[in-house]
């Protein structure tokens, strides 16, 4: 009888989890005609002149984003947690959290406005930094930072709220005892709160790293908005998309997808095996 309960879910898991993954493996190791290809698809995409620049773009973006996320989310969560006035703490969390509603294309569109010196409410700041036009703001060297800012704006609030919840779970007695022993807010944060949050910080890091590697919507939208000042093969996922839809090379697309999938799988496996998500108690 238990099988009846899990059948619909199992079918979906097979159809949209297992089968596509194995189909991608099959395509990545075969030729267009269906013969065994060995590693030629992989050597072809790795040898593509667009692959390594795209990998570098993504890596730079992910590094900036993770760095900002880990440091600023921890810091802001600690600050918000230290605010004793209840309504102030609640409204801060609310303000940080609400941009999360604009995930994906909507947040990118909003930030196109923000980065356009002629319309942006930040135009004073942009001019002060020497940017006169939209095209200057999205110069190739600025892009990893621009994407990191967009992702941080939309995603950080949710994590701040979660870290705040984790901080609330630390027993008040431990903190009180440290305070009596003469620890200041700084030492309490460093010796007690941050170590207790470590599991959540690493969870955030792994989820964000896995998601960041998949960068697609942001450059895709900017490419469209900028008349291809941002190339349409800026990120690895875009390159895979180009392979599938412009070059009709599904085997090459599958090879790139598989490489990206392996990164995500490895990260998630590490966390599942070591992170204790399984434990009920």
């Amino acid at each position: 009888m238990a099988y009846a309960f899990v059948t619909p879910y199992t079918l979906l898991a097979l159809a949209f989890g297992i089968v596509p993954a194995f189909y991608a493996v099959y395509l990545a190791f075969t030729t267009r005609e269906g013969g065994f290809a060995g590693l030629t698809n992989f050597s072809q995409v790795l040898g593509d002149f667009r692959f390594w620049p795209a990998a570098q773009h993504v890596a730079l973006y992910v590094i900036i984003w993770l760095f900002a996320l880990v440091i600023l989310v921890t810091l802001l969560a600690l600050i918000v947690h230290n605010i004793a006035i209840r309504w102030a703490s609640t409204s801060l969390r609310f303000i940080f959290y609400i941009p999360g509603a604009l995930a994906g294309a909507s947040s990118v569109l909003l930030w196109l406005f923000m980065l356009n010196p002629s319309a942006s409410p930040f135009s004073g700041l942009l001019h002060a930094m020497g940017f006169e036009s939209f095209v200057e703001v999205i110069a190739p060297n600025n892009l990893p930072l621009v994407f990191a800012i967009i992702a941080f704006w939309a995603g950080a609030g949710g994590w701040i709220v979660i870290m705040y919840g984790a901080l609330n779970n630390i027993s008040q007695e431990v903190i009180e005892a440290a305070r009596i022993d003469g620890a200041g807010p700084f030492q309490i944060a460093r010796r007690i709160q941050i170590p207790m949050m470590r599991k959540w910080i690493s969870y955030m890091g792994i989820i964000s790293l896995a998601a960041g590697v998949q960068l697609f919507v942001e450059p895709q939208f900017l490419s469209q908005a900028s008349q291809a000042v941002v190339p349409n093969d800026y990120s690895l996922n875009q390159l895979a998309y180009q392979y599938a839809f412009r070059q009709n090379d599904f085997n090459g697309a599958a090879a790139i997808s598989l490489l990206l999938l392996l990164v995500a799988l490895a990260l998630s496996a590490v966390f599942v095996l070591r992170g204790g998500l399984f434990d009920k108690e």
Partner: protein, 302 residues
């Protein structure tokens, strides 16, 4: 420790307390501006004319009549394309929501409270896939859908969206921590069938988790861009998130070659952005607690 040094220390810590509070205040103020300004600006922009948007103070409030003009321009775009896109989004996210609930609530229940072969396997699989970002499987799913000829069909997005391992995980955690097995065993001894045990006892107790899974599923699917972008090539099938690309392409401020009778002004594009997230925004206004409960479920135990 002597009294004087204690006092000294107190004064010192008061001092660091003060400066820390000041730094904390400044940092939070900066980030309040960073997070809030774009939202406030966006809402205000929908009430202005294109000229007012570029000339006037960014935080001035426009007029009702300009809002109506923007509204009309948006919904007249390509003879009502925007309404179609919003309806498509509702169909895809809504359809996926129903299927997600039908599939994941019983599955989470069975994983938590019954025994069967392969239970462990299914659990590990769920956890691993749950942590993979959903974009990672988009192209492989496209290749699969292409092989079975479903490209362009609404099912090509609804079905993959209905596979929601995170929902199963949440349900699993909920049932295994908040419903005692003995309760179910008692019902079984009284002669209730397995299906009755689920529908009469477990399900009525599961209302909070149904709402939680529904919230996460709807938000994720409404905002999904990559999957429909790949699966649905025809403009009449776009969800609003993908439709935004078309609107962007018709905005002369970003795409000079698009100037013409069908062009979109910046305030209209701002209005489109607001409309594209409106259902999710409304859900977010009431859901902060949901998020914490969902993300911290079971995971915090050291």
């Amino acid at each position: 420790m002597s009294n004087t040094s204690l006092k000294q220390r107190e004064r010192q810590s008061n001092l660091t307390g003060w400066s820390l509070r000041t730094v904390g205040g400044v940092v939070s103020a900066i980030f309040v501006f960073f997070f809030a300004i774009p939202m406030v600006w966006l809402i205000l922009a929908t009430t202005k004319s294109a000229r007012a948007l570029s000339v006037e103070n960014p935080f001035s409030i426009g007029t009702w009549s300009d809002f109506v003009v923007n509204w009309n321009q948006l919904f007249e775009f390509q003879s009502g394309a925007v309404s179609t896109w919003v309806a498509n989004s509702a169909l895809y996210a809504g359809g996926a929501l129903v299927l997600t609930l039908i599939a994941s609530i019983p599955a989470g229940y069975a994983l938590a409270l019954t025994e069967f072969r392969l239970r462990g396997t299914l659990l590990v699989l769920t956890l691993i896939v749950m942590l993979i970002p959903n974009t990672a499987l988009v192209l492989p799913i496209f290749l699969e859908m292409n092989a079975v000829g479903l490209i362009g069909d609404p099912l090509s997005v609804i079905l993959p969206m209905s596979f929601f391992p995170f929902g199963v995980y949440l349900t699993y955690i909920y049932f295994s921590t908040s419903i005692p097995r003995e309760l179910l065993d008692a019902a079984r001894i009284d002669g209730a069938s397995e299906f009755k045990v689920f529908s009469r006892i477990a399900l009525p107790l599961a209302a909070p988790i149904v709402a939680l899974v529904g919230f996460f599923s709807f938000v994720a699917n409404w905002n999904n861009y990559f999957l429909p972008f790949v699966m649905l090539p025809s403009s009449s099938d776009y969800p609003i998130q993908v439709g935004l690309t078309t609107l962007l392409g018709a905005t002369p401020a970003f795409n000079p070659s698009s100037a013409g009778s069908t062009s979109v002004q910046l305030p209209t594009l701002a209005l489109a952005t607001v409309i594209s997230v409106l259902p999710v925004l409304i859900m977010f206004l009431f859901s902060q607690r949901f998020l914490v409960r969902g993300m911290t479920a079971g995971g915090v135990k050291e």
